[in-house]
Point group: C2
DNA sequence: ATGCTTCCCTACCGTAGAGTAAGAATCTGT
DNA sequence: ACAGATTCTTACTCTACGGTAGGGAAGCAT
């Protein structure tokens, strides 16, 4: 009589548990989240968590794994080889920021929790490194005359870092995806102080200036 | 007979304790660090920690406070009003990255630990926000014809984010300060794919490649 | 040489929370 | 309608660790 729902097949319950776990982890962090809290949130009893996932660590790892999966999937449209490299970068940017905009919990769990939790950082750093390598590739492909000695990987590190910082603001609801994508695209190609996008833009309208 | 050293004046012991605490916190994170571990590292007994700082939280807060202080101090040379804004930005960049290069533990504690520890994040976010505002100001001051509607704060967020990402690589010993500063300066003014610094550069010499 | 202050320790308490034992329902095939 | 598998719960155990009680020894006055 845990709450009403009962006797669901394992596969379903597992997802429910992960949903609850991601929620609570993203709210309170790994250490300040108790298994009881997750169980309660999932309207289930604690031993179920241990039956399906073996331990708190494994449960958290499962969260990272599923959310990381989703994260990578959200970026695959950017891999479309039909697009010009620079367009790919634009798509990647929008996919990335769009993913954070929705799925804020995933973002919080993956980046603000997992990355700082020794023992899980490596697992996330993998997806991150792939993102960086992808970015480095796109930068390299779309640069006409690369200055000799240019380290595209470090450039990608910087750009991804900028993206993550901006993503945090998106997750905080302070700016919207389009504006952020514009900013980062300009950052990549013209520098911060450079003019904005040369073509269209402002087409949307002149209104507020901030999102919310 | 805790280890040999004995009966030091309070002010000294307090610093010892903070040194030890910063070390251990930066290695293991807040939650995976026990007060016993810190006491042992400081060659002191646990009740001393509680006598001088009242609790684990307060001790951690003291760490953040001291390291944050040092962090801000390291950036003050950039405030020199005699410098042109763009030079100020360059100095700020080098001060920031230089600080991370030495004081890696401070960096880890402040950013990788405190920022992800709910309850302390706000305290650090303060210093961070000031850094962002400072950067935004410098950007604004040194931009000739600001495109109307340009949000310098968000730009600063992006640039600082890039700086933090690069700083992590510095802390990891993967690149050196000068190279990172060049990269970020170029990022700010010309964009990632832009040419490197037009003037001197490579003037330093080809030596070691690492600092320490 | 006696009190007062400062510094410091050994030994303990209390509890939050990870993990488990034991078994009760419910479903599925035959 | 019975056996076996699957889902699920209540009610525990046990340990790590934050925090404390109580006292001891060293310096410094007068």
């Amino acid at each position: 009589m845990a709450g009403g729902t009962k006797r669901l097949p394992r596969a379903v319950r597992e997802q429910q548990m992960l949903d609850a776990a991601v929620d609570v982890f993203s709210e309170n962090g790994f250490h300040d989240t108790s298994m009881d809290a997750i169980a309660t949130r999932a309207s289930i009893s604690k031993p179920m968590l241990y039956l399906y996932y073996g331990s708190k660590d494994e449960l958290f790892a499962a969260c990272i794994s599923r959310e990381g999966q989703r994260f990578v999937e959200a970026l695959t449209p950017a891999g479309d080889p039909a697009l010009a490299p620079r367009e790919q970068l634009r798509v990647a940017l929008e996919s990335f920021l769009g993913f954070v905009d929705q799925h804020r919990n995933s973002w919080m769990v993956l980046y603000r929790q997992a990355l700082s939790q020794q023992g899980f950082a490596g697992q996330v750093q993998n997806s991150r490194d792939r993102l960086i390598e992808l970015t480095a590739h796109l930068l390299e492909s779309s640069t006409r005359e690369p200055d000799p000695g240019t380290d595209f990987t470090i450039m990608a590190v910087a750009l991804v870092g900028a993206g993550e910082a901006v993503a945090d603001r998106i997750a905080g609801g302070e700016i919207d995806v389009e504006k952020a994508a514009d900013l980062l695209e300009n950052l990549a190609w013209r520098g911060l102080a450079g003019k904005k996008r040369p073509d269209h833009l402002e087409s949307e309208h002149p209104e507020t200036g901030y999102s919310a």
